[in-house]
Amino acid sequence: MSTFLRTVSAETAKITTTRMWWVLALVLFVYVLVLSGGLGALFGAGSSGSLPGGTTGEIPTTGLAPLLYSFASSIGYVFPVLLGALAVTGEVRHQTLTPTLLATPRRGLVLAAKLVVLLGFGALFGVIGLVASVGGGAGALALFDIDTELGSSDTWALFARLVLAMALWAAVGIGLGSVVTNQVAVIVIVIAFTQFVEPVLRSVGALADWIGDIVRFLPGAASDALVGASVFSAMAPGQESLDWWVGALVLAGIAAVLTVIGALTTWRRDVT
């Protein structure tokens, strides 16, 4: 086996031999299940008029199914980012960089292997998120006799793009972790950016076209464009999003630029 493949299997083993990955996967699953099921039931009840004071057909049900399914990424994307970032910062925090680099003294190779492994785990998180969002969302819709659109090829294309998006998010995590190697700092940055900074910026983007033109290149917006449906675009209609493949390129580009910066700076530092 080539050194690279051996490094890839070692990096895979590093993730599967600690608890972090399944703790994050479990939280992702529960979080997405509850939200897609809960909102699915709420919308379903609203559109069938079973909410108090409502009338039948008040809320349109077209596009409701893909919207619910996309929760796997539009809400769950923070989990692959964290897994990716922690795969790098954990090595610094627990000083495992020493045994890692003793076994594989080529630092660029180690980082490249991490990238490959995390693309895989990101995709796995995409599948786990989808099982939750389809389980919760389609289950809720079915209760109210709303079309789950699971027979449509468009829905399955969305699933594929969503898995790709989640894989790219994990790669963004690797890039972020290699630039900011402090574990606490990276967690704060991920949470603050995904839960606060970007949502605020995207809301501001609705105010003027030129702001919107910039804001759609933000990673979360690019991800939503790639997946093709999201709560966010549903809440701010009229805002034009990128083509799905441009969204993919933006995410991949962010991951690549961050990883290269990390590889050339912090990743080359002395390990003491």
Binding site: R6, A10, A13, T17, H94, T96, L102, A103, T104
Partner: protein
């Protein structure tokens, strides 16, 4: 064991900001011998070893294994086995998994993992998370990691720290055994007495600079000898020795006579007709010589 090499430290300097942790240090470590790498806290031992292992970039100079830097070794873990700090383990990973990750990265057979775990006495704790390990157990795991690839060169940073007496005895005989198989063994310590029984050669540094290198015997050349002697009539003995021209100092348990052998002191007392109650040769000891060397550099 595939590949036995020397360790070559050639004019290596490492500066952390304005501080030179290691300064123009050169020495060579030979196969088939245990070499003690000694120096007080902060002398630069760990920094030197980390430069040798490609973890820290030297400001100047080269640290290699027979001319090949660590990062260019074809099969690093099979060539060099290194144990640095005891803390370099993910607390949530088991000992077995820790070694498996390294074995996977280096293409080492899985059966070797169980072998080295048995060798260091961790077999029954192999599936416990390292977070619950004691310092001594971590040291043993670090040693298992170093031995994993059956390497021809061993680089061990303070491997005796935290071991129990039985563990210390065991590691001393292990070091001897590894060297007698022809391997190159470099062991750091801040105490000479800790490794004195197992080393052939010593490299002593202080403040990042070499103060002595050579065989262990070369250290005792600087030894000074004295004799501790006592008699029921201590003052008569003191007078007789002073009359014979010896430098005598009083101690709690007798008189110390510097720079003589016990035989001469015994003869002097016999000739003066003074019966002795004790007569002991005292050597200042290697540890004193070591401390003297190290302090002379301050």
């Amino acid at each position: 064991m595939t590949d036995v090499r020397t360790i070559d430290i050639e004019a290596v300097t490492k500066r952390f900001g304005p501080v030179a942790a290691v300064n123009a240090l050169s020495f060579q470590v030979q196969p088939g011998r245990v070499t003690g790498f000694l120096g007080p806290n902060g002398a630069g031992k760990t920094t030197t070893l980390r430069m040798l292992l490609g973890l820290v970039r030297p400001s100047q100079g080269r640290a290699t294994f027979g001319g090949v830097p660590y990062s260019e070794l074809v099969s690093p873990l099979r060539t060099v086995g290194a144990a640095l700090e005891a803390a370099s383990f993910h607390p949530g990973r088991t000992a077995r998994n820790h070694l498996r990750v390294a074995a996977t990265a280096s293409g080492i057979a899985r059966s070797r993992v169980d072998e080295v775990l048995g060798l260091v006495g961790l077999a029954e704790f192999a599936d416990r998370r390292v977070g619950g390990y004691s310092l001594g157990m971590r040291q043993r795991l670090g040693l298992a990691f170093a031995l994993l690839g059956d390497p021809g060169v061993l680089v061990l940073d303070e491997p005796i720290n935290g071991l129990d007496p039985e563990g210390i005895k065991w590691i001393r005989s292990l070091l001897r055994a590894l060297a007698s198989e022809g391997r190159t063994v470099l062991v750091s310590s801040h105490l000479l007495s800790e490794v004195q029984q197992s080393v052939d050669d010593v490299v002593i540094i202080a403040r990042g600079e070499l103060v002595h290198s050579g065989t262990l015997a070369s250290l005792s050349a600087g030894d000074s000898v004295s004799v501790l002697v006592d008699a029921p009539d201590r003052s008569a003995l003191g007078d007789a020795l002073a009359a014979a021209g010896y430098a005598v100092t009083r101690a709690r348990s007798g008189l110390i006579v510097a720079g003589v052998e016990a035989e001469e002191v015994g003869r002097t007392a016999f000739e003066a007709g003074i019966p002795l109650s004790s007569l002991q040769r005292q050597s200042s000891g290697l540890e004193d010589t070591f401390l003297h060397l190290v302090e002379g550099n301050r």
